[in-house]
């Protein structure tokens, strides 16, 4: 096994583990997201006690959930793409296009990570009006999803064709 193959195997393993952790994190986040909105309805109508923080909390949970799920979508090749042109190319060209496409995804993930961190740092002193938490929590999922998308993109680009090609 040469160095490139060894790197591909370890990045592929890391990508699979990161995806598993993301999936495990997404489950309680989704339950919390539903529970926050449902409980706000319940407390308002049954106990006549509206939870004023529920809108901000649910928005935060929603943005985190969607960012993490987007990264899982990249891992699973779930995002909408059109393959008509690629599938008509000769196999050697197609392999090259598949690699370039995954590297472009990885590049966009890298940009999300860099600017997600920059924005989080920039808005750190500002807070949510009712929660009182830093607004950085709103931009951090961009960075987390960006790192994951970059990792999955590189992993797919290095993977054998049957894994790389949806």
């Amino acid at each position: 096994m040469n160095v490139l193959d060894a790197a591909a195997v370890s990045i592929h393993g890391l990508s699979a583990k990161a995806n598993r952790v993301t999936e495990l994190a997404l489950l309680p986040l989704t339950v919390a997201f539903v529970a926050i909105i449902f409980s706000s309805v319940l407390t308002r109508f049954v106990f006549h006690y509206p939870i004023v923080e529920s809108v901000e909390l649910s928005r935060l949970a929603f943005v985190w959930a969607m960012c993490l799920a987007s990264a899982i979508g990249i891992y699973r090749h779930a995002h909408v793409a059109i393959f008509n042109l690629r599938d008509r190319m000769p196999p050697s060209w197609r392999r090259g296009v598949v690699i370039v496409v995954h590297l472009l995804c990885a590049a966009f993930g890298g940009l999300m990570a860099v600017y997600g961190i920059e924005l989080s740092v920039r808005v750190w002193p500002t807070t949510f009006p009712t929660l009182g938490w830093s607004q950085a929590w709103l931009y951090l999922p961009l960075a987390v999803a960006g790192v994951l998308i970059a990792l999955h993109g590189v992993s797919h680009a290095l993977a054998p064709q049957d894994v790389a090609e949806p």
Binding site: V63, R76, V80, F108, L119
Partner: protein, 425 residues
């Protein structure tokens, strides 16, 4: 800048880059090289586009539909509708349309309906001797009803973009949704003899009552969602969360068709499906911002008004443009890009934004079932395990009733506005 974004986007999509990433890369490239704004604006707009309480209804409606689909509740609904209308000319084809109308009160997505209901209905229709391509084409066309009858994910997106009441939009979709169902049913009845469609024997009252009893809890879901919103009990997002809990309780404890170990898969699948739409909304938000900054909307409006200032001509041009765009680009992305451009134009012509919401969503949903890249076509071809080309040909006749209703919805505003005007005085 707008043209550069479009060129880069189409080049990337042609290479098979996922649409959401293609939009993000195109706007990042233009922001970095052709605009005076910092690149961080793209990512700030991504979060701004996604950070919305209204949009958070989307994963909840998808989760509700998946909870219903996973446990086979969809089959019960289909059986109930089949017992009711299966003996009409074109029996199972009629049941397909009817089941789509019923399920549209639970799900808010054409693609989810095409996948969930399509799977059940195509199987049943094939068993009764229908051609697989015809069954798949009909399922794709009938899935258009899903996002017109509430709840509706495209109406949620339009409501967030146009800053109009999602509750009013939901009410506005009810009559056009029923009109589509009736138009399709009439079309099927009219062509069933020539095409030799089989039909069921008439179900006995006992059989109808039994299937009704078995599906009553599922049939109440639209009542919970739509009744709650229109009754002012909760917002569309809260209604979606209540629907999730309702679907969970009836699937888990009343029908006992899903188990605890099924839940992680359903939750993950729903979130990933939702993220496909939401990630696109996030990246297209930066494109939309670039277009607004450049004044692309004003240029576009001036170009349309140079052709005519007659509302009916403008609406005709908008319909033609949206139908073409809807066949080529994902509907959620078009909705986000085109709503801020078209809304000022149509409101300046005196067209009600709620009425226009129904027009734009119906146009785009017809696109979802139209070749070459209609998403529902891909989904039904996949679940039916037949070549896409056959489905593309088979869907064409069923587009006729959809286009007839589109003309009606466009030029008879009261079809959309009468109900919300009665309910939201």
């Amino acid at each position: 800048m707008t043209i550069a974004v479009a060129l880069i986007f189409f080049a990337l999509v042609a290479l098979s880059v996922p649409m959401a990433i293609g939009l993000g890369l195109a706007s990042a490239a233009v922001m970095a090289w052709l605009s005076p704004f910092p690149l961080s604006t793209v990512f700030q707009r991504m979060i701004a586009g996604m950070d919305s309480f209204v949009l958070s209804a989307i994963p909840l409606y998808i989760l509700t539909a998946n909870l219903m689909n996973a446990g086979g509740i969809t089959d019960r609904l289909f059986l109930f509708v089949r017992r009711l209308v299966g003996h009409f000319p074109g029996g199972l084809a009629q049941a397909n349309v009817g089941a789509n109308m019923v399920f549209s009160g639970i799900s808010g997505s054409a693609v989810a309906d095409a996948g969930g209901l399509g799977n059940v209905m195509i199987r049943a229709m094939r068993e009764q001797g229908y051609r697989a391509e015809m069954a798949a084409g009909l399922s794709a066309a009938a899935s258009v009803i899903g996002p017109i009858i509430p709840p509706s994910i495209p109406f949620v997106i339009y409501g967030a973009m146009a800053e109009v009441s999602v509750g009013k939009l939901f009410a506005a979709g009810i009559l056009p949704g029923i009109a589509i169902g009736l138009a399709m049913a009439t079309f099927i009845a009219a062509t069933s003899r020539r095409n030799g469609y089989p039909r069921d024997r008439r179900a006995t009252l006992v059989e109808v009552a039994k299937s009704f009893r078995e599906s009553i809890l599922a049939l109440l879901t639209p009542v919970v969602i739509v009744g709650g919103i229109l009754g002012g009990v909760f917002t569309p997002t809260e209604a979606a969360a209540v629907a999730v809990v309702y679907a969970f309780v009836i699937s888990m404890f009343a029908y006992r068709v899903i188990r605890w170990k099924d839940l992680p898969g359903i939750l993950l699948e729903s979130m990933v499906t939702s993220s496909i739409v939401l990630f696109m909304i996030a990246t297209v938000s930066s494109v939309s911002w670039l277009m607004a900054v450049e004044g692309a909307g004003t240029t576009f409006v001036a170009a349309l008004k140079a052709v005519s200032t007659e509302p009916w001509v403008i609406l005709l041009m908008i319909n033609a443009g949206l139908l073409v765009l809807g066949c080529l680009v994902e509907s959620g992305a078009i909705l986000i890009l085109m709503t801020p451009i078209l809304l000022p134009l149509v409101t300046s012509l005196g067209i009600d934004p709620i009425h226009f919401g129904v027009v734009i969503v119906l146009n785009l949903m017809i696109g979802v079932a139209t070749p070459p890249v209609g998403m529902s076509l891909f989904v039904v071809a996949h679940v039916a395990r037949i070549p896409l080309e056959g489905v593309m040909r088979a869907v064409l006749p069923f587009l006729v009733p959809l286009l007839v209703v589109l003309v009606l919805v466009t030029y008879v505003p009261s079809l959309s506005l009468w109900l919300p005007n009665q309910l939201f005085r």
